[in-house]
């Protein structure tokens, strides 16, 4: 009886023990080793789950998050990374796993592995001191990543201008006070939550407010979660302010407030979305909200043939970039991209060529604005069945502009 009870206890614990011990990464289906910005964690989780369940071509995203500039260097140098690699279980492995669940970990044979794919959540030129671009590197611009300034819910601040942000983060409250130039309510140096200068959030904000990213005032946090915690636990919430990826902010709207931002030369301030409560990223898409960067995805190609060294890397990157893939997936990657707070290229109407640079008009080859709006918020677009639009083109059930 005692042996039976012991057996039952071991059997009950077995699945948890299996998850606690890192798997051998090489035994997972089609592993692709990736290093991505921490702003892309939700994308990795949702896309990772979908790709594990992708019947036609199951792929395992084996990933680690790090600063964009570090990712670029690790990819260029093909550094053998000794890190805790993460992956997502398939539905067969864990039917109860959700994107709010923890990732699983695996160890590659030999303990280290180089990168198949790297991600930068800003223009690569914004990273200082990168090595020369290797001849095996191929670059693909992916969806757009917006960045916001957030304050605790207890703060009464609603908006901030380019000029105010320039003084707050470029001079800092202490120096401003000594110059009789304080910017209320941001009067306490340690209530500014920023990042280190290899992170896309820091570099993109610095570029958009004309501040040297190495001299941004405030507490330099290594990760977005620390910025969120710093704001949520602030002792002086009215004076607290921090920089975040928009998708991180979207997940913390219950406790934080996004400030509307007025860019240099702009008449009004705007949120990334059309108002404080929507999630449509309308102002990112049409240029009224200026603090954003493209996500850039790198994979290895043969320098002679220009073909991907690992074809599955192109499959994954094309999916993220909104391109058609073969074999067709059993899910819509654009839905995942939109749901994690990114804006697909086909929904953008403006572009730029460097971080903080001027905007110009942009027309993608095929519009997905209506579809995007229907995923993240509501759309006023007319719905349609194939070929029945009075104007525009019927695509994915909506009359798109073109």
């Amino acid at each position: 009886m005692r042996s039976l009870a012991l057996f039952a206890l071991i059997a009950a614990l077995a699945p948890r023990v299996a998850h606690a011990v890192p798997a051998d990464c090489s035994t997972l289906p089609n592993p692709i080793y990736m290093e991505v910005g921490d702003t892309q964690l939700n994308l990795m989780k949702q896309l990772g789950r979908a790709l594990r369940n992708n019947t036609a071509k199951p792929v395992t995203l084996v990933f680690v998050t790090n600063g964009s500039c570090t990712n670029i260097g690790d990819f260029y140098n093909q550094t053998a990374l000794s890190v805790t690699w993460q992956y997502i279980p398939s539905s067969t492995e864990d039917p109860n796993w959700t994107s709010s669940s923890a990732t699983l970990s695996c160890v590659p044979p030999g303990g280290t592995h180089t990168l198949d794919i790297a991600n930068s959540a800003l223009f690569i030129a914004s990273c200082a001191n990168e090595p020369a671009v290797p001849d095996f590197a191929q670059f693909t611009n992916g969806p757009i990543q917006a960045y916001v300034l957030a304050v605790p819910k207890a703060s009464s601040a609603v908006a901030i201008t380019f000029e105010q942000a320039y003084f707050v983060f470029g001079f800092g409250p202490t120096i401003l006070a000594s110059m009789s130039g304080s910017i209320a309510p941001w009067l306490i140096e340690n209530e500014l939550q920023v990042r280190t200068n290899t992170k896309s959030t820091q570099l993109t904000w610095a570029a958009n407010i004309s501040v040297d990213p190495t001299k941004m005032h405030g507490i330099a946090n290594s990760g977005s979660p620390a910025v969120v915690t710093g704001l949520q636990n602030s002792q002086n919430p009215s004076a607290a302010i921090g920089i975040l990826g928009a998708e991180v902010y979207d997940a913390t709207r219950a406790t934080l407030t996004e400030l509307a931002f007025r860019a240099h030369g702009q008449y009004f301030a705007y949120w990334a979305d059309s108002n404080a409560t929507s999630r449509d990223k309308k102002n990112v898409r049409d240029g009224h909200y200026t603090v954003w960067s493209p996500t850039v995805w790198m994979n290895k190609i043969d320098p002679s043939s220009h073909q991907p060294v690992t074809p599955d890397t192109q499959y994954v990157i094309d999916m993220i970039a909104g391109k058609e893939v073969t074999p067709a997936a059993n899910f819509d990657a654009n839905v995942i991209v939109a749901n994690v707070g990114l804006v697909p290229d086909c929904a953008m109407r403006v572009t730029r060529s460097f971080d903080g640079g001027p905007l110009s008009l942009y027309k993608p080859s095929e519009s997905c604005t209506c579809k995007f709006e229907s995923i993240v918020d509501t759309t006023s677009c007319e719905s349609c069945s194939s070929g029945t639009c009075a104007t525009g083109t019927c695509r994915s059930g909506y009359c798109e502009e073109f």
Binding site: M179, G181, A263, G265
Partner: protein
Amino acid sequence: MRSLSIFTALLLAFATGCSDDAAVKHDAGVHDAPADAAPGGPDASCFTDPHTNNEIINACTTAQKVPVPGRPPLQLPDGGLPAAP
């Protein structure tokens, strides 16, 4: 002859009113939002046919607009900013 002049003047006035330029409301060269502009209300100055960066960021929109009055005390009289330390 007088009728012709009036007709010509009216034609010119009408043509000017329908030009592309008239469709674009140019700003008054100020960066602060108009004091009477209410969030979400009609634009006091916006661009209906934006092309440049300045026109794009100030294009007419249905999005909610947030006026931000005042200017930082250390901002220079010409609108410029002093170099950061």
